[in-house]
């Protein structure tokens, strides 16, 4: 899955609702600068807070109505859900399973970074290695890693180790691909400028390759982090390895679907948190990239 910092065409994969907000006239006169915002915060009808608040309330209403209509415990109403949250959050099982999922996620992801990034950089920098590995990487990367779960379970059982290895395999690919892009796609005008100013190899690495590569690596990290979480939880559901996924399964099979739903929402919030955090990191690493600049200034 290619997800590089490209101008608009594919950048909508990470559409940021905040960046979507544009103030000002449409197609106005040349330098029609917007008048200064008055000091002090005002609660206007179209302010961000009010809009998000309204959206939240509207969503909760729709949820409540839909759940009442479907009338199935597996999709609880807002009220039932709130009650279930209170119950579940008090159990130790909740926090333990949260820890189990996060442990596998964190360790597997770190391993993927340590292995995927250097190999990716090597591939990007060296043409021979690039060509040698191209087909193999494309073929292996096409296999959805979740498919390896049955095999891994046979080898390692439903353990933390199994999950870590799975996460490692799944998360390595985006890191590898993005790192190789990062090494390869240093703007060639910038490269020639560096050469014409006779920068040393080390300076080139420091001022040219590293910033460019780190931007791509940041993107790869974001993708890898999301994939890692999905794969962790997926493996827990498929194999009943301990973690949030298992709790969802258990909830459904033990006739406590509202609890299962709480774990499901936990997984979702976790995913959202991770995505937001890594997106922020990515933005920090990418502040100089023209496509990113253009989007911020939109």
């Amino acid at each position: 899955m290619v997800d590089r910092p490209e101008p608009r065409a594919t950048s909508a994969l990470t559409v940021d609702p905040i960046a979507n907000q544009v103030a000002g006239p449409d197609g106005g006169a040349g330098d029609a600068a917007v008048a200064a915002v008055p000091a002090g915060w005002q609660l206007r009808a179209d302010s961000l807070v009010v809009r998000r608040g309204a959206l939240l309330i509207a969503s909760l209403l729709v949820w409540q109505i839909a759940a009442a209509a479907i009338d199935n415990e597996a999709f609880p109403t807002v009220t039932h859900f709130a009650v279930a949250v209170g119950e579940v959050a008090r159990t130790s099982a909740y926090w333990v399973s949260l820890g189990q999922t996060l442990a596998a996620w964190a360790i597997g992801l770190s391993a993927a970074v340590l292995v995927g990034v250097p190999i990716g950089l090597l591939i990007g920098l060296n043409t021979v290695v690039d060509h040698a590995t191209r087909v193999t990487v494309a073929a292996l990367q096409a296999i959805p890693s979740i498919v390896l779960v049955p095999l891994l379970v046979l080898i390692y059982g439903t353990t933390l180790q199994m999950k870590i290895i799975l996460v490692f395999i799944a998360a390595s690919w985006p890191l590898l691909m993005q790192s190789s892009y990062g090494a390869r796609e240093v703007d060639h005008v910038a490269k020639e400028t560096a050469r014409s100013y006779r920068l040393t190899r080390i300076d080139q690495a420091r001022y040219l390759y590293l910033p460019s590569a780190s931007a791509f690596v940041a993107t790869g990290l974001r993708i890898a982090a999301t994939i890692a979480l999905l794969v962790t939880i997926g493996s827990e559901i498929v194999t009943s390895a301990p973690g949030i996924g298992l709790q969802i399964q258990l909830g459904e099979s033990n006739g406590q679907p509202d609890r299962a739903f709480v774990y499901f929402v936990t997984a979702s919030l976790l995913g959202l948190l991770i995505a937001t955090a890594f997106r922020r990191i990515e933005r920090l690493a990418l502040f100089w990239h023209p496509a990113h600049r253009a989007r911020q200034g939109r």
Partner: protein
């Protein structure tokens, strides 16, 4: 500094005229609401354009030339005043009007070939068959000298050729009014003179009423019968300058006539003095010129 007529004088004058002018901009004003202040870009703009006249609109950058053109084209609604075509007030892009944009790269649709680009607006005319549309489009492309490029994509052509396609697209609609928003700003100087003559010829031949927005003072005088100088704060019509040159314009001979030089000087001075009077410096904060420089180019 405002030489424009007041609306009473205007109304009085129009009593003496048999038919309403082709285009009448009447007391046009344009303001934008921004956060807690309103910013007025245009105010009290009056322009009467008789049929088949070619007028140029010039002014310093940021004056609101493009805004004015957009209001006349119906793309934007003014906050006050009106735009009338043949006496009727417009409330959106009217028929029989074509607008040529500066950015041809984005105005021509890159997913359509040249011929498809030119026929696309014709599809709105339900009375035309596909064959008729193609024939009209091909005729228009021939008029601009692009019969060979019919089956290519716009981005395969040079900048000047792309703008020609845009002109052909406008031409195919058989407009009575042609509006142009700095159409030659993105082409090189050589192509520019060719395109100027092409447009002039087309407007004459097809008897169009034309409005050209430009920052090039030479171009404004060369192409038109009258130059409208915008300026002030907020912007309105600062000066109207009639161009009394022979109808037959030529890049070499016309531009060396003493009358031409006098006219361009007058226009240039008008733009500059309006600028200074409104308290704006000749150069903006980054040292770029905001008034046409010696080469007649405002951004030079």
């Amino acid at each position: 500094m405002n030489n424009a007529l007041s609306s009473e004088e205007r109304a009085h004058l129009s009593d003496l005229v048999v038919a309403p002018p082709k285009i009448r901009v009447d007391g046009l004003a344009m303001s934008y609401a921004a956060r807690n202040a309103a910013r007025t870009v245009l105010e009290n703009v009056h322009i009467d354009i008789p049929a088949r006249q070619f007028i140029s609109i010039v002014g310093h950058s940021g004056a609101g030339k493009t805004t004015l053109l957009r209001c006349i084209s119906g793309l934007e609604r003014s906050t006050a005043g009106s735009v009338r075509f043949d006496g009727k007030e417009i409330s959106g892009p009217p028929e029989k009007l074509a607008l040529i944009f500066q950015d041809y790269g984005r105005s021509l649709f890159p997913w359509l070939r040249v011929l498809a680009n030119v026929t696309l607006p014709l599809r709105a005319d339900k009375k035309m068959t596909a064959k008729q549309r193609t024939a009209t489009a091909e005729a228009a492309l021939e008029a601009v000298g692009l019969s060979d490029a019919v089956h290519q994509y716009p981005w395969q052509l040079s900048g000047g050729m792309q703008q020609r396609v845009a002109i052909a697209r406008a031409l195919a609609c058989e407009p009575e009014v042609l509006l142009m928003d700095e159409p030659f700003a993105s082409v090189d100087a050589q192509t520019r003179s060719d395109l100027e003559d092409l447009v002039l010829g087309i407007c004459r031949r097809y008897r169009m009423t034309s409005i050209l927005v430009t920052h090039d003072v030479d171009e404004s005088v060369y192409m038109s019968d009258r130059v409208v100088v915008l300026g002030g704060r907020p912007t309105s019509v600062a000066e109207l300058i009639d161009v009394d040159l022979p109808a037959d314009r030529d890049q070499v001979t016309t531009k060396s006539l003493p009358e031409f030089i006098a006219l361009r000087t007058r226009v240039l001075q008008a733009v500059r003095s309006v600028r200074r009077a409104s308290g704006r410096p000749d150069r903006d904060a980054e040292g770029r010129r905001t008034v046409p420089g010696r080469n007649g180019d405002a951004d030079a």
